[in-house]
């Protein structure tokens, strides 16, 4: 099992070193919340802030979400778990950030939990990897020898539904939506300003939290993330009414992988799959 205390120590040590030396101006990590079960995303900006850093099984947050908030060129150190590192890679591919401005503090981890339900979320709502894909410093022992679980296994029940049943499933789910937009705000890849749903001219969908507008918002967001979603599961975890958004994202990711033979956020050399044109690309998308 992951030694959370050890990672916390290493995280503090590295954060202190980087801030002291002036190598970075901010360390994006996890801080104390109102109790142990509720840590918070935290931006340490001085050595004194480092004491507030924590790491435990509830630190699910994808800190890559906060990268685009800082002006281009800011030197940032960021704590990354597997999916978070993929988000960083994807953001680099999309030219939102530059690798040279980042120090990636890699956290290999197994056994992250949902604080609401206490269930282990590895590979259920997340990408199922345990080791960060890209890092500069590793803060714990790499996880090896685990049974490899496909992140798409949780789709079995969903895929068993036919077209009508799926449509009904999503209609019922979207009826619950209160349009708080926590999903898009928690998503590291949702950085459009303004988001299409906030636009008035043209107005793409109803403002009211009801069927047509909700469907428009979610389906557009789903498709906007095709080939870009790195499967961190933050949207589903952020949702106050528990809409299983990850199911759609995983389904699209799976189809993208089958069609284009590329997984999002795995290499900074890649181009985003729907931006890139390759002669050998599948034509299935046009069918």
């Amino acid at each position: 099992m992951t030694d959370f205390k050890k990672i916390e120590e290493n995280l503090k040590k590295e954060a202190k070193r980087l801030l002291e030396s002036g190598e970075v101006t901010v360390v994006l990590a996890y801080g104390k919340g109102f109790d142990e079960k509720h840590p918070m995303p935290f931006a340490a900006k001085s050595v004194a802030d480092v004491d507030n850093i924590v790491f435990n099984e509830y630190c699910n947050y994808n800190m890559a979400r906060y990268l685009v908030r800082y002006p281009q060129g800011t030197k940032i150190a960021i704590a990354v778990k597997a999916a978070d590192s993929r988000a960083v890679i994807q953001l680099i591919q999309e030219e939102k950030i530059k690798k040279e401005n980042l120090v990636l503090l890699g956290i290999p981890v197994i056994g992250m939990k949902n604080p609401k339900t206490d269930e282990v979320i590895d590979s259920k709502t997340t990408c199922g990897m345990h080791n960060p894909v890209l890092y500069d410093v590793l803060l714990g022992e790499e996880v090896h020898g685990q049974k490899i679980v496909s992140p798409y296994d949780v789709l079995a029940e969903y895929e068993a539904m036919d077209k009508d049943a799926r449509w009904q499933f999503w209609k019922d789910q979207f009826d619950k939506c209160i349009r708080c937009y926590a999903c898009r705000k928690a998503c590291p890849m949702c950085y459009c300003d303004p988001c299409f749903i906030d636009q008035n001219k043209p107005k793409w969908a109803d403002k009211a939290p009801q069927s047509p507008g909700n469907i428009m918002y979610h389906l557009t967001r789903f498709h906007h993330l095709a080939g870009r979603c790195i499967d961190c599961g933050e949207c589903s975890r952020a949702c106050p009414v528990d809409i299983p958004l990850y199911l759609f994202h995983k389904k699209v990711a799976k189809e993208c992988e089958e069609m284009f033979n590329q997984v999002s956020g795995m290499s900074i050399e890649d181009k985003p799959v729907l931006v890139n044109f390759r002669v050998e690309d599948s034509d299935k998308i046009l069918e």
Partner: protein
């Protein structure tokens, strides 16, 4: 008048209430409980701590249609949508949420500014308050004690309910509640020991402790005013904030709305929908100028509105400490901790 019923027979009571009008009660959903209009009396479920979303929607729904019209037609052809004035029974509201209604009345039902939609619904509704179960542990996010509210306060309810083992005790508080209680024939008269239990529960409610912070409303209002320009403080407490609307949408006291025209194929509806001061476009002006572009400005506005401006303008804090915003926040921002830290400055 004190009446009682077995909790397992609650669906019978629900059925009677459904005959008399619309019943809004907690139902179990995937993520937890929420208030919903009851179509099937079996669905009423009192086995809950508190609902995810506050019951404010009973009076101030997430979406309220005002007018339906056709583009190109005259205004006389537009249809004004009336509020249904059928009696409503709002069943199983926790004391902190009951308190929130009286704070919301300031905005929707005070002299001079009467919102017909809110006030008609308020008039048509009988509130069944429901004491927290004192045998269950208190949720770590709650802090209603800090705002002078206790787990078994009947104030503001028309009928107040207390759970006694397998029974539910119902006490008429207002004349409206007494009258209704007398009509509900599925209930039986409560005995002497039930009366004693009810009174004891009300007393014991004071010892059911949530997080507590000594909040003097004038002190906190002045304090927040004084630290308004302390950007370091506001940047620090908002550094995690995603600027989504989850906290305001679940809050029983957030009342901001947006009036919008939704049109499709030449048919339009003018309606109001919940809005949130945490959204980037909340303060976006027609000129393109936005006075609150930064996350810290928006979070500061939310805290100050509740704990400072509201006190100065209306003499009461616009928060009841139900803990919903903390529980629903995707990044665990805790309004209680922010107030606590502000007081230390």
């Amino acid at each position: 008048m004190l009446k009682k019923t077995a909790i397992e027979k609650i669906s019978q009571l629900a059925a009677v209430l459904m005959e008399k009008g619309t019943l809004l009660a907690p139902v179990k959903e995937v993520a937890g409980h929420n208030f919903a209009e009851i179509n099937d009396p079996q669905k009423v479920d009192l086995n809950f701590y508190n609902t995810i979303i506050s019951p404010k929607g009973a009076f101030f729904p997430p979406k309220e249609d005002f007018i339906k019209y056709k583009i190109g037609k005259t205004i006389t052809e537009a249809e004004q949508i009336k509020v249904d004035s059928k009696p409503v029974f709002l069943f199983g509201v926790r004391p902190c949420d009951v308190k929130s209604f009286s704070i919301m009345d300031i905005h929707f039902n005070a002299a001079g500014i009467i919102d017909p939609y809110w006030s008609q619904r308020r008039k048509a509704t009988t509130i069944f308050g429901y004491a927290y179960d004192l045998n269950q542990p208190v949720d770590a996010a709650d802090f209603y004690n800090s705002l002078g509210i206790y787990a078994a306060d009947p104030e503001g309810s028309d009928i107040f309910m207390v759970k006694k083992d397998k029974d539910l005790l119902l006490k008429g508080i207002t004349p409206k509640g007494e009258e209704l209680l007398a009509q509900l024939n599925t209930l039986v008269d409560a005995g002497k020991d039930d009366e004693k239990y009810y009174e004891e529960t009300l007393k014991k409610g004071k010892e059911y402790k949530t997080r507590f912070l000594c909040i003097d409303q004038d002190v906190i209002a002045k304090k927040l005013e004084a630290v308004f320009n302390n950007n370091d403080f506001w940047t620090k407490v908002s550094s995690a904030c995603l600027s989504c609307g989850a906290c305001t949408f679940v809050c029983p006291n957030c009342y901001c709305f947006d009036i919008c025209d939704d049109t499709i194929f030449g048919k339009g509806t003018r309606r109001r929908v919940w809005d949130a001061c945490m959204f980037t476009d909340f303060t976006l002006e027609a000129s393109g100028h936005n006075p609150r572009t930064q996350v810290y400005q928006r979070l500061r506005q939310k805290i100050n509105h509740k704990y400072s401006y509201h006190v100065k303008k209306y003499g009461v804090i616009s928060c009841v400490g139900c803990g919903r915003c903390t529980r629903s926040c995707p990044v665990n921002i805790d309004i209680y901790s922010i107030v606590e830290e502000a007081l230390k400055l």
